[in-house]
Structures are given as C-alpha cells and as structure tokens.
C-alpha cells in the first residue's frame, strides 16, 4: 500500500510537471485532439481545405497555401534582407553552428485560419498576430493587412527565435532561468523597425507616464497588453542607449545562465533591477512631455457607450446613427449600430472594416469568418447579408463613394496595401494606387471628386489626394498624418503627432499645412466630424472611449 502511495505521489508530481511545462510551450496535453475526450469545449474547425507548399531561402522555410504565393515571396525578402540581418549579427555568438539552422515560418491568410489551425497551437480567443514556438524554432504568422505590419510582425517573431531558441535546453530542462517577459518582448519590439511598431503601444506608454503609473518589472513581464509591450520596448531601448546595444546580448545571456536577479544586473550595469527601473522611469517624463501640461478632457466628460469596450472605426450614418466596432464580446470585432441609447449588434460575423452607404440603408463590411478575407453587403432594413465576389483578392479596407455607385477597396495582393476602385458588383474599374509602399485609409470628399489616403514617405505617414486622374502628395512635415476624414462641408481633417501623442488637425487642401484642433492631454485615436461637433475616440487609462467634442467648449 505504501508503495502504491509513493507511486501515486510520484505520478501526480510527474503529471503536474508535465502540465506546467506543457502550457508555456503552447502544447496540448491531451493525447488526441479530436475533441472526443471532452464532452464540452470548442474545437478548431478549419473553414476550407488548405493546399500547402514550401518556399526555401538560405535561412528560412516558408510554408504557405493557395492565394499566398506573393505574400510568401514578400515575406521571404523581408525575412532574409531585413529581419534576419537586423537581429542575427547581434546574437551570432549564441550559435555554435553557422550557417544558422533554418527557421520554419508558417503563413496564414487570416486570423480565422490562424486561430483554427493546429499549427498555431493557440486558443480560439487569441488576439495575437503571430507566435514564436521557441522550442522548435518555428513561427506562425497571420498575413498582415499592410507591408509595414508584415515587416514588423515578422521581425518581432524572428527576434524571439534568434534570442530565445538557443537557450531551449535551459528552458526545457530547467537548468537556469527562463527569459523574463520584459526582456523577451522588449528585445522583440526593440529590433522591429521604428515605423512598424504599433502606434497604440506608445500611446499606452505615454498615458501611464502622465499618470505616473508605470508598471513594475514583474507586471511588465506578464505581457498582457499593448502597454506591457511598450514598457518592455522602452526599457530595453533605454538600456541600449545608456549602456550600449552590445549589452543586450550580454544581458540576455547572463539572465538565462545566472538568473533574473539583482547580482546579474549589478555585474552588468552596476545597478540593481529596481535602480535600473527607477533610472528608466525618471527619464520617461522627458520623452513624453508633449501635451503633458494640457488639461485632461475625460475628467469632466462622460463617454458614450461605456459598456462597449474599445470602440474603433466610428462612423456616422445619414440619420445620425453611430456605427462602431468593439471587442466587448471578446473577439476582434463586433459591429454595432447605436441609435440614441439603443445599441445593437449588426452581424454574427466578426468584422475588421466596414463602411455605410450614403443613403444609410446598407453597409459593406469585411470579415474572415469563411477563411480568407471577404467583402459582404448588409441590408440594414432586412438584415440580409450577401457575399460580394470581388475581382481583387484579400480586401482589408473599404470606403463607399458619396454617389453610392462605387467602392474604394484597400487590398493586399502583393504583400502591401493598394487602392482599387470597384463597382457595386465587385468588378474592378480602376487601380488608384499600387506602389510598393502601403496605400491605406481612403476617405471620399463629400462631393465625391477627391479621395484622401495615407501612404508612408520615409519614416512618416503622409496624406495624398487623388482627384480621379492623378495623385498628389498633400502633407510633408516630419510627423505622422493618419486617419483622414472629411466634414460634411468638405473640410479635410486628420490625426497628427508622434511619440504617443496624436491630435486631430485641420488640413489645408492646397498646401497640406495642418492646424491642431485638440488642446487636451489625451491622445485622439480617431475622430469623425458631424454637422455640429466631433465624435472623438480617446485613449483613457487603458481604454478606448468615445466622446462628443465641440471645439467651442474648450476648457
């Protein structure tokens, strides 16, 4: 009996050990994932059969399926010419074998297929854009809507593999500490090209700096949202600037081999972890000074729809109805229509972009629920949804023309976002812009004569205007110009700023000169001019909140 008890104890310990180990490496513990082991639970159901092929380059094997041929080639060039060369030289000494063992990269066309694949190893609720399986030297990535995002995500995930995979034995067999989240994610963000880092992350960082609520190292290491990624990046960036970029390699190696403890950091930098954290925190207010002295807007104003978390892509219908996307149901995203206080979900499908018809009776939206990204038309009166067959594939954005007879579709066919004019049957009428850079955020002028859109020029996003024949660059100053919108009277606005502080601004249509309209402290994420005021989406204490703003009411 005693022997049995010992055996049970040992066995339970082993099981616990296996479970604990299995979760971090994203592996399932069940022996067969047919779903049949459990009465309940959702299963991964791929919406369509995928025919896989492989593209082999000197350092990578890229796995892709039908429709992703050009994306695979573009990814290969990013990985070889940009990402690998950016990261590997700094960590070359971690590798005893040269040339480096090939990294497996698995590409998916959409979030739906990424989540539903066994390859990602993630839950159906994942909101990640990619995942690095550091034990097996494999990364799984969603084909991003834009070239910039693809470049950023690939570089981020490749950094994880190059920096952590060499320590896999330490991680697997516990002979040393793991890599804490703030270092793992901080390095991955640090090596991303600056313009590819998600702007919202630095917005979140600026917000906590102004509130003096910067997270501790252990909080950052949980890496549970945009803020933690930004904090991790900022701290690693601080270390690189202050102690030299070569110290990042030394820090990583020392932390894995000697532990994430004060002695390790004292030996490297002469500072304990807390001292290092304090040094970094003291520098942050100098970096994020812009707007710090401005009055806060959210303290005395109530947000609209507070129960619908993280509203984005807000639009106004002709009758004043407010449309928006929200992740309040735990997915990216649900589409809502608010008429006064009445808010209703318009479709069961997840939606990532949409636009309302000028007469307000229909809308078009984009969803990847059936595998690849597709355009649907929704009749707002009858509720009937119809899939629209497009002559361009992989749509990622849409704008309905004021005349109601055409759509501008943003589509990523060759690895970057381009603009196409199509009719309401999905036929291609004209290619508006298809350079090697991204062209995004199309916005029609109210008379339908001009189309504003965004494209990067060097490090900054700039506005362009298309008049039906030619394109001209409108803005030129050294800051980002994003989210162009037109007022009903034909004035053009956009979001401008950098370093996490973005404001709405009026744009002079002749010279592109911008005039800031937002005198408050909060960052404006998006806004829509109405006939009387503005609807502004503000970043406020880790939330996206929608407010009404009347410029005359400035406090």
């Amino acid at each position: 009996m005693k022997k049995h008890r010992r055996c049970h104890l040992f066995f339970i310990s082993f099981l616990l050990f296996s479970f604990v180990l299995a979760f971090p490496v994203q592996s399932a513990v069940e022996l067969s994932k047919t779903g049949a082991e459990y009465r309940f639970g959702q299963v991964k159901a791929l919406p369509r059969p995928l025919r896989w092929r492989k593209l082999v380059t000197p350092h990578f094997e890229i796995f892709f399926y039908q429709g992703l041929e050009e994306l695979a080639e573009r990814s290969a060039r990013i990985l070889e010419e940009d990402a690998f060369e950016r990261v590997y030289p700094d960590f070359r000494n971690l590798f005893t074998l040269n040339p480096y063992r090939k990294i497996r990269v698995i590409l998916f066309a959409s979030r739906k297929e990424y989540r539903n694949s066994q390859a990602s190893g993630l839950s159906l609720e994942t909101t990640s854009e990619g995942v690095a399986h550091t034990l097996v030297n494999r990364l799984v990535v969603i084909g991003q809507p834009t070239y910039r995002d693809l470049r950023g995500v690939l570089t981020h995930e490749v950094t994880h593999l190059i920096t952590i995979h060499p320590f896999k034995d330490h991680l697997l067999y516990g002979s040393g500490s793991g890599v804490p989240g703030w270092i793992a994610e901080g390095l991955a963000e640090y090596y991303m090209p600056a313009e590819t880092r998600y702007p919202i992350r630095e917005v979140a960082l600026r917000d906590v700096v102004l509130r003096d609520k910067v997270d501790s190292l252990s909080e950052i290491s949980t890496v549970s949202g945009n803020l933690h990624y930004a904090e991790a990046w900022s701290l690693v960036d601080y270390i690189a600037r202050k102690y030299g970029r070569e110290q990042l390699f030394a820090m990583l190696e020392a932390v894995v081999k000697e532990g994430h403890r004060d002695q390790t950091f004292q030996k490297l930098f002469g500072r304990t972890r807390l001292e290092l954290w304090k040094d970094w925190r003291e520098e942050l207010p100098q970096i994020y000074q812009a707007g710090a002295e401005a009055p806060p807007y959210t303290e005395e104003t109530e947000p609209l729809f507070p129960d619908y978390r993280d509203q984005s892509m807000v639009k106004i219908g002709p009758g004043g109805e407010v449309f928006f996307l929200s992740n309040c149901n735990g997915r990216l995203y649900d589409l809502f229509q608010a008429d006064g206080d009445q808010v209703q979900n318009l479709t069961d499908r997840s939606v990532f972009a949409y636009d309302v018809a000028p007469d307000g009776r229909q809308l078009v939206f984009l969803s990847d629920d059936e595998g690849d990204r597709r355009l649907y038309r929704l009749d707002l009166v009858s509720g009937v949804e119809t899939a629209l067959e497009l002559e361009v594939t992989n749509p990622i954005g849409v704008a309905w023309s004021p005349e109601g007879d055409r759509l501008v579709v943003v589509a990523n066919i060759k690895g970057d976002a381009d603009l196409f004019l199509i009719d309401l049957e999905g036929r291609l009428l004209e290619v508006i812009a298809d350079s090697e850079a991204d062209e995004t955020d199309p916005a029609w002028s109210p008379d339908g004569q001009q189309l504003a859109f965004v494209s990067p020029r060097e490090l900054y996003d700039q506005l362009y205007l298309w008049d039906g024949k030619k394109i001209r660059m409108l803005t030129r100053t050294a800051e980002h110009h994003r989210n162009p919108v037109w007022s009903p009277t034909g004035d053009l606005y956009c979001i401008t700023g950098q370093r996490g502080y973005y404001r709405m601004a009026a744009v002079d249509l002749e010279y592109g000169i911008t005039t800031h309209l937002w005198p408050y402290q909060e960052t404006v994420l998006e806004f829509v001019p109405t006939t009387e005021d503005f609807l502004v989406t503000l970043y406020n204490d880790r939330r996206f909140e929608l407010y009404r703003y009347q410029p005359g009411e400035d406090k």
Partner: protein, 372 residues
C-alpha cells in the same frame, strides 16, 4: 595618346565598369528561393525525462512529436515503476481538413473519481479509435470505438469491477458558451453501447443528454442545466451514474486523457447538499438552477483574469437503479456559494442544505473549473 595605350586604358575602364556592374547586380540580386511541396512527417518537439529514486527507481518521460503544420501529432507518456511494471500512453492524431482521427493505446494506473481523495486508482489497458467531424468551432460529431480492460489498484468504498469491455459511441456536441461573458449554451447527445466481442464482459445500450443555458446581464447571470442518462443492460459497477456533491470526474487527472470514460458517466454532475456518490444507479434526471452575481469587476464586459462572484442555487435529481427509484422525488439541495477566478483557474465553494432527506446536514462543496 597612342592607340595601344588608348585600347589598354579603355580595357581597364571596361573591366572596372564590369566589376561594379556585376557587383551591383549581385548586391541587388533577389534572395535565392526554391519551391517545394509540403510533406508531412513527424519530428520530435520535446522529450522530458524524469527520474526518482526512493529505494527503487521510478522513471517517467513525457514527449511530443509533430509535423511542421501539426497535422500529425504523437504524444506519449512512459512511466516505469521499479521492476514491477512499465506504463505507457501513446496517442496519435491526424488532422484532415474537416475530420480529425485518433488512435490511442494505454496501459496506466488512473485515478478515478473526485481528485481530492474521494476516488480510487484503477489500472486500465486499452485501445481506442476516434474520429471527430468538426462542422464549426461550436459543433462537432465524435465517434469512438474502444476496447478496455480494468481492475482496481486499491480499495474503494463501493464495488469496483475487474473486467473488460468493448463499445462504440457517437456524440453530437454544441458549445458556444463564453466563460468570461457567461453567455451561450452547451449541449450534447450521446448514444453508445457495449457488446461482448473479444471475450469482454458487458452488453448494454446507453443514452445520455445534457443541456446548459446561460443568460447574462451586466453583472448577473442565470444558469439552467438539465441532464439525463439511462443504461439498459449490464455495465461496470463503478461506471454507472453517480450523483451527490460536485462530481467533477472530467478533471480527474489522466482519466480524460486515456479515454477512460466510454460507457461510464464522464460529465460533471452537481447535486449539492449530498455526499459524493450518494446515489448510484443506471438512470437519472438532474436539473440545476443557479443565479450568479458578479461582485467584482462591475460587469462581465470588464471581466479579464480576476473576478469574484456570489451565487444562489437549487439542484434537484431523480435517480433510478433498474425499475426502482433510489432518490427522493426529487432529492433537492439549495444553498449559496462564491467563486474566485484567478489566473485562469475557477475555484468554487458552495454551502448547501439537502431538503427532503433524513440526513439534513448542510455541507460545503469545493470545485475546480467551470462545473456548469
């Protein structure tokens, strides 16, 4: 400049130009790329040995092989216990576009019953074939064929068989329940049977159904659950339906991994106010009604990784053994409870009073995970 010098200089210039042109061309050359067809083959993902010595050696390994896209997976657990026995579990899965197929072989001691000391260890040896048609993320059909032998490794307060069985089972499941939002529905209908092939011991038909519906307001949720099951024919004494307390058999360690539950009651059952295994029979009807109030945070929309909720409930069950009803008509338990949700773990404590029973003593019940 004479012609020869001119020609020589021109040649040099040409060479230099050629050098730069070729160099530039090389520098701008595309990344060499080569297309290949994908061939699925198993590779080792990880292999973890674990050894302990306490007078005799115990050794265990846990490992996983998979193909690059994980369309094939092979998991194994090997557990050697002194010189007495080598225990092994091997599971292979193949994922086709709409179907997944599984083949499992196992010989392993399995803890059966509640994980906190109210169960027993059973040695199981078996093989199972599985197929699962995934219609959507929420809907599936599971098919299973299983041959299994089992015997108890320690005493249990109720009879435990030393026998074998062969059976098949088909289960239709729908699950669109969102744990964080507390909305949606879960239901399954299962039809199975055992037949004495290969010298096995039982012959029966079993039907089981479960329906759970969640309605949620801003910070309150109402849950209605109904379960029923019936077995006609002979079945293992310890694999009938057991009600009483919170029977969380579905988290009983390896039990769910080794497909132990064929033709036994696997899903959780909840009859609070009664001791574990209070009623054991071949047929039952169970209903639960529970009202939950989210104390923190202030709405389900804000629920993330930490939450605390309170609840009031009423459970009612009818249990039969053959033609005889062995429960009250019905056996009812009422009470209140609270749940902590922390870092993905749902921990519950319920205080329940049994009604219309001789032993009217209230009880505390502990649960781990989302029981229903």
């Amino acid at each position: 400049m004479d012609n020869q010098t001119y020609r020589w200089r021109s040649s040099c210039l040409l060479l230099v130009l050629l050098f730069f042109v070729v160099g530039a061309a090389q520098a701008k050359a595309d990344v060499p790329m080569e297309y290949e067809e994908y061939r699925s083959q198993l590779e080792l993902e990880y292999f973890i040995p674990f050894i302990m010595y306490d007078g005799s050696f115990h050794a265990a390994t846990y490992g996983k092989m998979s193909s690059i896209l994980r369309d094939q997976e092979l998991d194994f657990v090997l557990f050697a216990q002194g010189e007495e026995r080598i225990n092994l579990v091997v599971g292979y899965t193949y994922h086709a576009p709409y179907w997944s197929y599984g083949l499992n072989f196992y010989e392993m001691p399995v803890y059966t019953g509640l994980p906190w000391g109210l169960g027993f260890w059973e040695q199981q040896t078996g093989i199972s074939l599985l197929a699962s048609r995934h219609f959507t993320n929420e809907d599936r059909l599971d098919l299973r064929m299983q041959l299994e032998g089992f015997y108890p490794l320690n005493d249990f307060r109720y009879p435990v068989d030393d026998a074998s069985l062969f059976g098949v089972e088909a289960t239709l499941t729908h699950d669109d329940f969102s744990f964080l939002r507390q909305v949606g529905a879960r239901r399954y209908f299962s039809l199975g049977g055992a037949y004495p092939f290969f010298g096995t011991d039982y012959k029966n038909i079993k039907v089981e159904g479960d329906y759970r519906r969640y309605w949620s307001g801003e910070r309150t949720s109402l849950i209605l659950s109904g379960r029923t099951g019936k077995i006609w024919g002979s079945y293992p004494a310890h694999r009938g339906f057991a009600l009483g307390g919170i029977q969380q058999v579905s988290i009983s360690s390896l039990g769910t991994l080794t497909n132990q539950g064929l033709l036994g009651a696997l899903a959780d059952s909840v009859l609070r106010g009664y001791p574990a295994y209070r009623y054991r029979g071949d047929g039952f009807v169970l209903t639960n009604l529970e009202l939950r109030f989210l104390a923190w945070p202030r709405s389900y929309q804000q629920r993330r990784s930490v939450a605390f909720s309170l609840g009031a409930f009423a459970d009612a069950a009818w249990v039969w053994d053959g033609n005889q009803r062995i429960s009250d008509n019905p056996s009812v338990g009422v009470g209140f409870g609270f749940r902590f949700f922390l870092a993905g773990l749902n921990i519950g404590f319920d205080y329940a009073i049994p009604l219309n029973t001789e032993d009217g003593k209230p009880r505390w019940h502990f649960s781990l995970g989302e029981v229903f």
